[in-house]
């Protein structure tokens, strides 16, 4: 009885693991959001935790940062739409 159970249990134990670190943590995830992002995170932390600090001014900096990201990609999107209307409409 017991050997039969053990035999059956062994059958479901994987003999090899298929753990591909490239799939678990693709390079872009740790390179971009870990390493490349680090100087940006440090700058932001410095704004909010360093001295002298002022919440209003730090918030202004963050707002400016986010507005610029939006304006950059929004502006690019608008430009591409104009190109589409003029040349590929």
């Amino acid at each position: 009885m017991i050997p039969a159970l053990l035999n059956a249990a062994l059958g479901v134990v994987p003999l090899a693991t298929k753990l591909d670190p490239w799939e678990v943590m693709p390079p872009g995830i740790w390179l971009i959001f870990g390493v490349i992002g680090l100087p940006v995170y440090i700058a932001f932390l410095g704004w909010f935790l360093g001295k002298p600090r002022q919440l209003k001014t730090s918030a202004l900096g963050v707002t400016l940062f986010l507005t610029l990201v939006t304006a950059l990609w929004g502006g690019l999107f608008a430009t591409t739409l104009v190109i589409r209307a003029m040349f590929f409409g």
Binding site: P26, G28, I42, A43, G46, P52, L60, T80, F87
Partner: protein, 447 residues
């Protein structure tokens, strides 16, 4: 010799006065930009067939050429510009404070031109945003192109934030001398300004400078941009970890050259000899020499490795590179420039502003040539000499060459517009020198 103090009136003169030189420069730049937009319109109508780019492989051509080479070149100029400004703030390099903002603006102008080149290089530029943004969560995992888009966005935004924070002080303190018709713009720029924020802003900009000085040289032009090429295993001409430092040295060389040219033009146009002193230009020339030397040194590393006992594919690519007349021209030009810089370093009498400006222009020509060659020769010499017998070659068409004139003209227009909006020299650069009664030799030491 220390930089002579200027007056606040000096730095707002470009905003208040418009000279004949300004109108001529604007007219010429606008004409060139318009002409190129017509050429680009033609390319949009007909497709990339009007360039000399062609299908790779059995097509016998190179799909990447001047457009991608110029993209890297502009990114390189951009990266070095803000590094200079960040170094001034972090390391107290006071001598270069007058050109710090110009360097920041060069970053924004040059990065915009680099982005434009991506648009211009696409067969269907109207699909750019929608092909990048929705797929981003997947592409960022493994695609160096997605990484590239990320870091360029970050870099542009960090630089613009840096500029946006620093001009608040200048605009606020100069507001009563600035023209009223730009009032809404100045109100927006100084929104919520209070004098107690000055110390905080100064510290916030310091933190940003710290981020930029790590991000720009080590991670962008010394990392992500070269990965676009060096991670492609099938092209021995692009291969190798040396591309990181190699790209970085070329970027810094190009950027210093760009700053020298821009500063010289402003000095000539606005009689800013007392702000942009000869000593400052000589210092910049020496930096140009140092980075140029590193550029050559890493080229030599690649050449020696490529011809000594390299596997056949790498040797083929390297022999093709070093026998290419344009490569010899580029490297020879850098050697001649370095000879001048070395001569003026050991004998100050050899220095002249005109020579340094000519050296800078030639340096930009040399770095652009090297970049374009790097891009398309890498593609033309793949492993296994796969397409050895396929006829075809690449030389940029007039359409592609015209883009260089067009982007330089657009960057010029960008600067001409900025000159009318806010001071391109920081108010601190003038004030600090007024407050500074230290002996002149202290500045020599600090720089």
């Amino acid at each position: 010799m220390a930089t002579s103090p200027g007056e606040p009136e000096d730095i707002i003169r470009p905003i208040l006065n418009t000279s004949k030189k300004y109108y001529i420069a604007f007219g010429v730049a606008a004409a060139i930009a318009l002409l190129w937009s017509a050429v680009y319109g033609w390319q949009l109508e007909e497709g990339l067939i009007v360039t000399n780019l062609a299908d790779w492989g059995s097509g016998g051509g190179s799909p990447w050429g001047l457009y991608i080479g110029a993209f890297i070149w502009w990114v390189g100029i951009a990266h070095g510009g803000i590094i200079l400004s960040a170094a001034v703030r972090l390391f107290g390099m006071e001598r270069y404070q007058p050109v710090a903002r110009m360097a920041e603006l060069l970053t924004l102008g040059a990065l915009s031109m680099a982005g434009l080149y991506i648009l211009v290089h696409m067969g269907r530029p109207d699909r750019l945003v929608l092909s990048v943004v929705p797929a981003y969560p997947w592409t960022v995992r493994t695609s160096p192109l997605a990484w590239d888009v990320t870091v360029i966005t970050l870099y542009f935004v960090m630089t613009a934030t840096y500029l946006g924070l620093t001009i608040r002080y200048d605009v606020y303190h100069l507001r009563d001398r600035l023209p009223n018709y730009l009032g809404p713009f100045y109100s927006l720029v100084t929104l919520g300004y209070s004098e107690i924020e000055e110390e905080v802003i100064e510290r916030m900009v310091w933190w940003l400078a710290l981020g930029i000085i790590v991000l720009a040289p080590l991670l962008l032009h010394g990392g992500v941009i070269p990965w676009l090429f060096s991670l492609v295993p099938s092209m021995p001409g692009w291969d190798g970890a040396v591309q990181g430092p190699q790209f970085l040295t070329i970027a810094l060389t190009s950027a210093i050259a760009g700053v020298i040219i821009l500063s010289y033009i402003c000095r000539w146009a606005y009689d800013w000899e007392h702000i942009f002193s000869d000593a400052m230009f000589r210092g910049l020339t020496n930096w140009l020499g140092l980075f140029g030397l590193l550029f050559l040194w890493l080229q030599l590393q690649q050449v020696i490795n490529g011809v000594y006992a390299e596997p056949i594919a790498g040797e083929t690519a390297m022999v093709a590179r070093i026998t290419q007349p344009y490569y010899i021209f580029a490297i020879g030009t850098v050697i001649v420039i370095l000879a001048y810089i070395f001569a003026q370093a050991v004998d100050q009498r050899q220095f002249s502003l005109a020579r340094s400006v000519v050296a800078s222009v030639l340096m930009l020509v040399a770095t652009l040539t090297e970049k374009v060659l790097f891009v398309f020769e890498g593609l033309l010499y793949p492993h296994f000499s796969l397409y050895e017998a396929v006829p075809g070659h690449y030389f940029p068409s007039l359409v592609e060459f015209s883009s260089l004139a067009g982007t330089v003209a657009l960057c010029t227009i960008f600067f001409l517009v900025i000159l009318k909006l806010f001071p391109v020299v920081e108010l601190h650069a003038v004030e600090d020198h007024h407050d500074d009664h230290e002996p002149a030799h202290d500045e020599e030491v600090s720089s």
